[in-house]
Symmetry: C2
Subunit: 351 residues, 2 copies
Amino acid sequence: MSKETSARLDRVNSQWRIARRPTGDNVQQQDFSLHEENVPACGDGQVLLKTLYLNLAPVMRMYMMGEAAAREKPLNIGDVIHGRGVAEVVESRHSDYQVGDIVQGQLGWQTYKTSSMSAAELMRKIPDRGVSYGLSLGPLGMTGFSAYFGFIDRGKPRSGDTLVVSAAAGGVGSIVIQLAKIYGCRVIGIAGGPKKCNSISQWCDNTIDYRNENVATRLEQLLPNGFDIYFDNVGGDTLDACMDNMNTGARIVLCGSISEYTSDEPYGLKNYARLRNTNASMHGFFVYNHEQQFAQAEADLARWILSGELTPLVDVVEGFKAMPEGLARLYAHKNIGPAYCRVQGDCYDQQ
Amino acid sequence: MSKETSARLDRVNSQWRIARRPTGDNVQQQDFSLHEENVPACGDGQVLLKTLYLNLAPVMRMYMMGEAAAREKPLNIGDVIHGRGVAEVVESRHSDYQVGDIVQGQLGWQTYKTSSMSAAELMRKIPDRGVSYGLSLGPLGMTGFSAYFGFIDRGKPRSGDTLVVSAAAGGVGSIVIQLAKIYGCRVIGIAGGPKKCNSISQWCDNTIDYRNENVATRLEQLLPNGFDIYFDNVGGDTLDACMDNMNTGARIVLCGSISEYTSDEPYGLKNYARLRNTNASMHGFFVYNHEQQFAQAEADLARWILSGELTPLVDVVEGFKAMPEGLARLYAHKNIGPAYCRVQGDCYDQQ
């Protein structure tokens, strides 16, 4: 059974719980506490899942601040931190699942979980595509799907369009810039620092290092006519700066606002009225509203990965104990590509 | 010659010029000065135009503040105030125009003008539709076209949609609410004060008096699922309040921001990120980008007026001398329907 990669069953379920609300603009080790309890018993109609990978995403600080977001409820102090992950079925009393199946969904920050595999837990089986199952937390999961639906469905790219992407070395951004090349766009990637800019330069016609360059001024130099699509992963003043440089009919895709997850006050967008003079538009989207099209997105993205047109950039943190540190890396802007933690890993993982 | 309504030619061209930049949140009589000069001579290839009607629009304060807007240059102190109007050709040395033709375009705040009828002056002949030519400054002009393209092209109304309109008793708003009824929408109109709310109640399923009611709370009560279209004529905190009440896939049409024409600082829009969770979008538009479709819009709007489906609400100020006072009425929110000044009037005007 080739899918069975880690069926050894420990007795202990390790959990990261929230110890206190984060303050400042990052999370700290003391915001978390490590618990150990017995692995729960698998009830009738349930499966016991063993965690292989856990996702790390900027939105997690929102849950910790007590806000509902991305289909998760606010966290109370003492709760297991919300998080999606990849797991292996190690025991099954559910007719649709057998031992060795690999699934993805709401696991929480823990090494075991029992589940009735309900839609509410956003659980789904992951097909074996000959690549690490961890990629389903990046290019073959919500990160890739956000890039896919945001860029294709909302951005409506045409060959020759100019695309600007913020957080272009991040999870979604690093996929968007590669999709844009597949679609024949000119690509300008905004990222922080020379290391990140270098990591994406092979897919960008130009990069802007927002830490060392003025974004608005550089965009004006590079795009005298403005952009056709701006894929926004950061919100805030970068979004305002970009709105100074819109071509007629420009589309702005609002994907994420990492700058806002760490801010107590919502940012006041000053340039929204400029949408008027340029006949431009701004499109929000929530990836789960596209659930019916996930299979199509996964198939397309996997095809591009296998053909070499899409190179997954992933930022893998090793071991369950490193989860808090791995999350803090995101707000310190240290990750390149989508970040996740290898809790157990799988047979494809060392490729 | 039935079109010739006011061919008597005075010797004096009266002009309103800008005497100083407005301060505060309105314009004052002292911001303007009245000049008289000789009627200019009609050169070769030119026509002499006699003003019949002059438009009054919130954007005029932008010109006076020294900002370019709506295809007009910033005003310098001493300049004739920019403004569109309707005029009669009283002398013609231009092969395409004859005495008695009625035209619309950039006249400025003055009673006579010579013009080579160039595209730069946005001049066009107005067909005789059996209604006051003044309506081409309202329902049959840019005001009507803004309502038409904003609502139909950007709002993409479907029968059964719920529409919210701010400044619903204003120039654009009073047309949008009537178009929405033609399209089978449920209409909620926001206006200031009982008098304005009463003036639009025949076309609204509900009205909200923003001076005496909390807009966000009322919208929440009236629309548990939120609106499908919000036609925004005011920007600012009303736009923010509306963004708390969006249905999935909602469209926001950004038409005007009267709240911003009178503010020195741009408003910071706090709720823009809510577009994400609802798959909503925000569409700016600039009516002159639709110039190729103006004839179609005028024909449709005239048809609806003649059939009685669209009732023009107009706010007519009497006499050229009343122009500054007429403009101030707008920022004091006193007008109901699009505002213009009857300088000379026409044969249809007393209907």
